[in-house]
């Protein structure tokens, strides 16, 4: 019957599963595998589904699962972000703003307040989009994604998590339950910056940097850059260039030139390859400079 006058755009048909416990969720994942999508905040999933007008036959909602919306700081280990923790929770968390600057900044600039209330940090990682802001910061800081299935639990390093655009190392029967970010040292500094046309746009370019600084000298660097390839990527040659050197204007210019040689951006509706190639150097330079000048985390 089509008597119902719909006043807004709907979603294609699927069967919604709402497990009450994690074991029940694992059973459903094991049973339906690729025929199932996992739903938490919905901001990524429903845009993805509406964009393609296609959805898996089953959607598994995490809404009834208890105890997954935490952000905990464990002294000596680091940050534990539960699968249902939102971006709004991330930026309100005092430990994140004090010690994980790049991650805090990525959440601060993420989407808009309503989307931040709904979107989860884990969802941002699972979406495997190269424009994802929290994902960019997490790649620079380094982290592990904890995946759980009926047969047990495993940890996948973020460097091995995104296989290509929209493809992750999560197996179809696994539930991503937690992100673990290592605790920063007294020498650790980090920063994040992105470029958009208006504030709530997806990034046309984003950069996150983590530096180990000792009296103005960079002992080690991790540089993550998004929107310049199929996944958010590390600029490893530029990281190597910084190692063991004092951060000064000359080195920053070399870093800008280096990163331009490491990326292969494309034209799309948000920017052009030529612009991204040019501006990536500038943003990387500024983000390194800002991280180097930042205060260390108070332990």
């Amino acid at each position: 019957m089509s008597s119902h006058m719909m006043s807004s755009r709907g979603l294609p048909e699927f069967e919604l599963l709402i497990p009450q416990t994690s074991p029940e969720a694992m059973d459903m994942l094991a049973q339906h595998r690729e025929r199932l999508s996992v739903l938490s905040g919905g901001t990524a999933l429903w845009n993805y589904v509406r964009g393609r007008n296609r959805v898996t036959p089953y959607v598994l909602s995490l809404s009834a699962l208890k105890g997954l919306n935490y952000i905990n700081e464990i002294p000596g280990e680091g940050l534990r972000i539960g699968a249902k923790a939102t971006v709004a929770q991330l930026i309100e968390n005092p430990a994140v703003s004090a010690k994980y600057a790049a991650l805090h900044e990525s959440g601060y600039w993420f989407g808009n307040p309503t989307v931040r209330n709904m979107a989860t940090v884990m969802g941002n990682v699972l979406r495997a989009s190269p424009s994802a802001d929290c994902s960019c910061a997490l790649l620079a800081l380094g982290c592990q994604v904890i995946l759980q299935s009926k047969s047990g639990q495993r940890a996948v390093d973020i460097d091995d998590f995104w296989l290509s655009y929209d493809v992750t190392a999560r197996k179809p029967d696994e539930l991503a339950v937690e992100i673990r970010v290592p605790e920063p040292k007294a020498t650790t500094r980090s920063a994040f910056q992105r470029l958009t046309r208006v504030r709530q746009d997806l990034a046309k370019l984003n950069v996150a940097v983590r530096l180990e600084m000792d009296r103005g000298v960079c002992q080690q660097a991790r540089i993550a850059i998004g929107c310049v390839g199929p996944t958010t990527m590390r600029a490893e040659k530029t990281e190597a260039l910084l190692q063991g050197k004092a951060i000064n204007d000359g080195l920053l210019e070399q870093a800008a030139a280096s990163v331009r040689g490491e990326i292969s951006p494309i034209d799309d509706q948000r920017s052009t390859a030529v612009y991204r190639q040019q501006v990536a150097g500038v943003i990387v330079k500024r983000t390194i400079a800002r991280a180097a000048a930042a205060k260390g985390a108070s332990q």
């Binding site: 006043s7 048909e13 699927f14 069967e15 808009n112 309503t114 709904m118």
Partner: protein, 169 residues
């Protein structure tokens, strides 16, 4: 299409409604409960027309939320702010300061303001601008909306002060 019977509370009133699994909260409000004050704009979380409050103060996009996940939840729409025919201070301020032109964005804008002021009763102009991001108005140019939020903040705080002083019922 499978359906689910849910119980939820909208604007202080309890409803039982049987919804198809793919029904959004916005569709349930507008098409099932006939509460058409909440608007559909973009369907992607960018325009804010469908903004409602969940459990009293957190704003969400009802177009990106499944109705079937709303079991036991309390939802507030702009219609729920008006009590006994009296406009809420936010609504009154929007009217007085010309923060409404065509009016399509207004229900979402008012609910976003309600959420902002619930979390931050005295926002600075910068905090108002950041707090209203995600709600698009194509008429006003936002200036009168900013002024209205400032006025609403003053009105609410003044009435709270009066209450604290025992001058209101």
């Amino acid at each position: 299409m499978k359906t689910k019977l849910i119980k939820l509370c909208v604007n202080g009133r309890d409803y039982s409604v049987e919804v198809p699994h793919n029904r959004t909260l916005l569709q349930a409000l507008r098409d099932d409960l006939k509460l058409t004050d909440t608007k559909y704009g973009c369907g992607s979380g960018e325009c804010g027309g469908c903004t409602v409050l969940i459990n009293g103060k957190d704003n969400i996009n009802s177009c990106l939320t499944l109705a079937a996940e709303m079991e036991g939840k309390h939802i507030t729409t702009v219609g729920g702010l008006t009590k006994n025919g009296q406009l809420h201070p936010i609504q009154q301020a929007f009217v007085e300061l010309g923060a409404i032109q065509c009016g399509f964005c207004t229900p979402g804008m008012v609910m976003k303001t309600a959420s902002l002021l619930a979390h931050n009763p005295n926002p600075s102009e910068d905090e108002i601008r950041r707090g209203l991001e995600g709600n698009i108005c194509r008429c006003t140019g936002y200036e009168n909306i900013i002024r209205a939020v400032q006025k609403a903040s003053q009105m609410i705080n003044a009435s709270a002060t009066q209450c604290a002083g025992g001058t209101c019922s």
